[in-house]
């Protein structure tokens, strides 16, 4: 935005058309979206082709799932981000608590 402001101050407010800018932004956003989707699809294949270790989400789950983190005490920063399955355990625990608290 600062660069745009500088250009307009130097060459006049009409030098850059808002509609043209919108079109440029939309085109570039679409390119970024396409690239992101492609990366999303290719990344696992590349990792597999390179023989990289499986990610946390694709490793077979260990037998006992870890206890879900209570909402009142979020964990401090750890080296490993929480796995999705662990987060789902937390969700199911909250659901279970809510069901047992509800009057029948």
């Amino acid at each position: 935005m600062d660069a745009l402001k500088a250009v307009r101050e130097r060459y006049g407010p009409a030098c850059v058309n808002d509609e043209d800018l919108d079109q440029i932004f939309q085109r570039e956003a679409a390119r970024v979206t396409d690239a992101r989707i492609l990366a999303e699809l290719l990344a696992p294949r590349l990792l597999a082709a390179m023989g990289a270790p499986q990610s946390r989400e694709t490793r077979p789950a260990p037998a006992p799932p870890p206890a879900p983190f209570p909402a009142s005490s979020p964990p401090t920063a750890t080296a490993d981000p929480p796995g999705i399955a662990d987060l789902l355990d937390g969700m199911l625990a909250l659901d279970h608590d809510a069901r047992t608290r509800r009057p029948r």
């Binding site: 989400e57 981000p81 999705i84 399955a85």
Partner: protein, 391 residues
């Protein structure tokens, strides 16, 4: 739960729309056929939106996406007396874009209102249609993770389960903004230095058609106090615009769909922009309407609704995490396309003294993040986690 698709046994009413029963919805009594034991499993990430739904599907054990589709959340029941051949294959039900395209020949029924099921039979018909898209053979086991509004109550969740019974084989219901964070997360960069994992510390604002959902995501599954669902979103903005149009341009005759299109093309927040001249066709004639104040006031009303919830959730973050959180506020959903929404929210936070806030929009992929997060959850869910269904 394991069941095949049930045949629809309810008879349509005179206008073709299934009647909304006064009695609580109950699944059909006939026992469904079991799927073959060796049937493949398909995972479905399903963003069930009030106005638009997004589905992403792929085979279990694979990272391939076999279906990616955004569908308007609407069922069209063909009107009686329509000449044969007008509707392709003489179908009695149409879905999504097909329904909207043939709106003159169908009764349009939106299954959802404000993010929850409002018409159960239409919801089941929509689920059947999606099942057919994902698994034309009808033989696969279909496991669906469905996004629900933040703080959707037990009855709303149960209603979705009822509607899905007999259509999807396994189900998980997960709040939409959390799924948006999962979908937004760049899995290839998780754990890398300098990457702000949205699942570790972020605040997602998912502005849809029926609800605006906010969610604090900080490395644990968000509880009820970490989420807020506000029944003011795209549809409410449409209603405000239409009300103001009716006041300033009486007898304009513009449909709600047309108003929505105008909003999607010209929406903005912040200082009122005038003139904002928009050409519309009314009664076959072109007219130029000045809509700057109308659209600006309607969209700014959204900010006034969600800003208090935003600051409330920020206040819940610990002092150790709040500075990083303020750098990781993401707006997604259709409302993320409102011009200037990121700048305005960021400025209001800064003006209120919050330290170096950074609000960004999710980008052009906003329609898919909830579904992407749902599919990731489906791929990662353990076997026993899928058992969380109706008793």
């Amino acid at each position: 739960m394991s069941s095949a698709t049930l045949e629809k046994t309810e008879k349509p009413t005179a206008n073709g729309i299934p009647a909304v029963s006064a009695a609580p919805f109950s699944p059909p009594a006939t026992a469904p056929a079991k799927r073959p034991a060796a049937a493949k499993t398909i995972l479905l990430g399903f963003d069930l939106g009030t106005n638009k739904s997004c589905i992403l599907a792929g085979a279990a054990g694979s990272t391939d996406i076999v279906l990616s589709k955004v569908i308007p959340s609407v069922v069209g029941y063909v009107k009686e007396g329509i000449v044969e051949g007008i509707i392709t294959d003489n179908a009695t039900q149409l879905f999504g874009e097909d329904a909207l395209r043939n709106h003159l020949h169908v009764n349009l029924v939106p299954p959802l209102a404000n993010g929850v099921v409002a018409h159960p039979e239409a919801a089941r018909d929509l689920f059947r249609h999606i099942r057919q898209l994902v698994d034309p053979s009808g033989q696969a086991e279909l496991r669906a993770v469905i996004g629900v509004p933040a703080n959707a109550d037990a009855s709303a969740r149960e209603e979705i389960r009822h509607c899905a019974q007999g259509i999807f084989d396994r189900l998980l219901l997960i709040p939409e903004p959390f799924l948006a964070a999962l979908g937004f997360r760049d899995d290839a960069r998780v754990g890398q230095a300098g990457y702000a994992d949205p699942v570790i510390n972020s605040l997602f604002i998912d502005i849809g058609g029926g609800t605006s959902d906010l969610c604090l995501v900080q490395g644990y599954f968000p509880g009820p106090d970490d989420q807020a669902s506000i029944p003011f979103a795209g549809d409410a903005i449409d209603a405000l615009i239409q009300s103001d149009l009716d006041r300033t341009y009486p007898n304009n005759g513009l449909s709600r769909q047309k108003v929505r299109e105008l909003k999607e093309a010209h929406s903005y927040v912040g200082a009122i922009r005038k003139p904002l001249d928009v050409k519309v066709v009314i009664g076959g004639k072109g007219h130029s309407l000045e809509l700057g104040e109308t659209i600006g006031n309607a969209c700014n009303a959204l900010i006034d609704k969600i800003y208090p919830a935003l600051t409330t959730l920020i206040a819940r973050a610990s002092s150790d995490s709040v500075l990083a959180l303020l750098q990781n506020i993401v707006v997604t959903g259709g409302g993320s396309q409102i011009k200037g929404i990121d700048t305005l929210l960021q400025q209001r936070l800064a003006d209120d003294g919050f330290e170096s806030p950074r609000v960004r929009v999710a980008g052009q992929d906003y329609k898919r993040y909830v579904a992407m997060g749902a599919l990731k959850a489906a791929r990662a869910a353990r076997e026993n986690q899928w058992q969380h269904l109706l008793a």
